[in-house]
Symmetry: D2
Subunit: 257 residues, 4 copies
């Protein structure tokens, strides 16, 4: 728990990593969850609120879903207006937005896919960051943990192997992810001395999800569990400011790399 009770924002809510993050952050934070549509947000928020680990918290976290296109300046700006109305400091924000991707030969890749890779990659990351950084800067030095220690406002991006390696047939996805990593590195250098910790987590894994059930079927713990990677995000957020990490990679024990 933080004093005063602060807000964590997760952009790109879905059933995978972002849900795991929300579940973890709810232990200490009120939540603002962003996804394109209420039809994505509502069932996941219901699931969160009815999770025994969340229900048992006293006081329980307030969880607000705001349908938002985080790659649109206007939409993101409207979301921030609503977040400000909540009247709480924001000390944690995660950009966990991804385009889907298909491997396709470059000459068969639509230029729109390249556009879209950038939209949900670096561009969306920038739109989101421009919106939330003022909130995070605002909270520097003003929120503490129950222990009395300083809460360092933190902005985390979810990357992928494709954030630093561009495989054949993956240009659209990789271009977006590389540009997001560039953003993250530039902002880490600019905002750390202002008190905001900027970090990146590169996921090298298939995530354990309903729709990935058939994959790596026989391999024990072969897929990344959102609840496990959430600990790594949380670890980044709680690092003391003499020891901040910019980038970590995560992958299952059996992953080849």
């Amino acid at each position: 728990m933080t004093t005063p009770r602060a807000l964590a924002i997760v952009a790109g809510l879905g059933p995978g990593i972002s849900y795991g993050l929300a579940h973890k952050f709810a232990q200490a934070y009120d939540l603002v969850l962003l996804a394109r549509s209420a039809s994505t947000l509502d069932p996941l928020i219901s699931k969160l609120e009815s999770d025994p680990a969340i229900k048992s918290l006293k006081p329980g976290p307030k969880i607000v879903g705001i349908p938002t296109d985080v790659t649109s300046v206007e939409s993101m700006s409207a979301a921030v207006a609503k977040i400000r109305e909540l009247g709480k400091p924001v000390t944690l924000a995660v950009y966990n937005v991804s385009s889907g991707f298909n491997r396709s030969p470059f000459l068969e890749t639509d230029i729109k896919d390249i556009e879209n890779g950038f939209r949900s990659g670096g561009y969306g990351g920038a739109v989101f960051s421009k919106a939330v950084l003022p909130l995070l800067l605002n909270a520097v030095g003003k929120v503490t943990w129950e222990s009395g220690e300083r809460v360092n406002p933190t902005l985390i991006y979810t990357g992928a192997t494709a954030s630093y390696k561009a495989n054949p047939g993956m240009s659209a996805f990789a271009m977006g992810k590389w540009s997001l990593r560039a953003l993250s590195q530039s902002l880490a250098r600019e905002f750390a001395p202002q008190g905001v910790h900027v970090a990146t987590v590169n996921i090298d894994a298939i995530v354990e999800l309903e729709r990935t059930k058939g994959m790596l079927a026989g391999v024990e713990d072969g897929k990344l569990k959102p609840a496990e990677v959430a600990e790594t995000y949380w670890g980044l957020h709680t690092q003391g400011r003499t020891s901040w990490t910019w980038e970590v990679d995560v992958r299952p024990w059996v992953e080849k790399w």
Copy 2:
């Protein structure tokens, strides 16, 4: 000289590196030079054509300027139509387009600048590549040097230090350049086995130009000379196909890095 006489395309013609490239390539190639406006192209083409080293060539190179916005699918498509009319194989293409950049704090950086960084970075690179790769693929195995050796069609991108390092205040420029490097790496992997050599040259330098005259004024050979770096591009183009390079860095001897 190549047999049959082939074409080199340089996109992003200006007075610096690209002019040096055109000057070098003209020793062996006819040229198609692309820049946004005829007012940029015309004086540089006149300068090229009147250069003694070019004038002395027999037969002299044919140099065609096509005003083109290489970041527009339509404009680039029109340019390719004109190139096809020239009826010559294309075995060398260079993407040397850059947005200018200003260091600015992220929260004062217009989202348009981020958009533009990507336009002239990865996106423009992709538009250009989608247009010229069919031409390059078409020339695989069909053109030789006077010596009889195979000319390997080559696609080269100009990068920068900001292609792999994102400094504070440089997010817009870096995001564009990182995405271009991602494109280059993905295409290098995809097209090498099809016979097209894809490479990147990362420039870590101030270029010697009229407008940089005042910079590093007392330092001998402190600025990159386009004629010198042109040899490195040429070296990439003439590598035998058992020994292709994807990426090189270049910087003046006195540069700190």
Copy 3:
């Protein structure tokens, strides 16, 4: 606490990061601490044992110092024999050994310094790893946390900025550190599928120590606090095996990079 009570090994005990690690690990582990001489080990172990946070633990950790040259196969082998006598599983081992370094022009650098950089870098890391990996492998699947969750045996190396960047005048130090990072990457890939988590922490900081008191004097939290970075090592050790990190960087909020 682990079940059964397990051992953590820290190689390269000194007053800085390694002391912070020992202090952190003692919350859950018995400790084996390695340093070249008893005169280094004894006062630090006394300090640890008399630390209120350690003294209050019931049962308190057993802390054993073994004077060892971890860059010597024989000495390390003798240490392992003593560790085996303790009869406990080993689930955490940290290689935190460094040569000191002085910037010196390469032609004035003694070849012995280059030898020594490698001794305490990759070579010492390899000697240590060959000695402790059989112990760690032995503990795979056999130790749990009080919660019942699996303890994943973990081997962590301390690196530096010089692990991936070789500055002028720093060749001896950098060569040792790069070779250690290579070792760490190779072993991470080899041992993860066998159940041992191998990771690297690259420190980009001046460490807060008695002898660094005068440095960055006016800068609040400008130096890395061992207690803070210890949380990051602990975070690596406690990652679930679907989400293992190989490498993290850490630096103070005000550090330029």
Copy 4:
């Protein structure tokens, strides 16, 4: 040809890349070739001298073999004494020494193999560099090409994919190669401003050799030809000093990476 006629040194002569380098350099240079034993040097020098392309040169190059253990300070020092006796400026030196390597599980890898990896990697590179850098520095500004342009003394190291990627079972080889790359980067930064160009070529290929005949048998141009990669080394050597490259990768067109 250079004025005055200068010397190129190739360390690690064998039938592969280094032979290709010697063959290329002989077009312009007298040669000093180093290998452990006369039984390696003599037949290769005979082969070189009887090569039609070399025999046709007027004046032909002087080719001197000096049996040398380049990883021994004493042996390398004796070689330099002999080189000095030749009374010629040295403007090109290549370190092309490699241990062989076998993939082996780390716990079955002899610590001697790790020692040896470093010997022929960074350590040998350092011994060689300490010996030849004074010669190279001595030649700065004193030698020109026939065109009158400055010859920039150049020191080049041969690396491998294992110079930046450490695969499982490859720790000994990778540790040596990473340390050599670190050396190369540190020296590039230190000696460029003194006029000596330091560069690295990372080979990602099987080299076309008698003993690799059976490998990639059906693949046209699937193996790296020493004569082709020699052009890349030569290109590095002849770069103007406003445009020096530190690192290039090379691989056959069909290589997966």
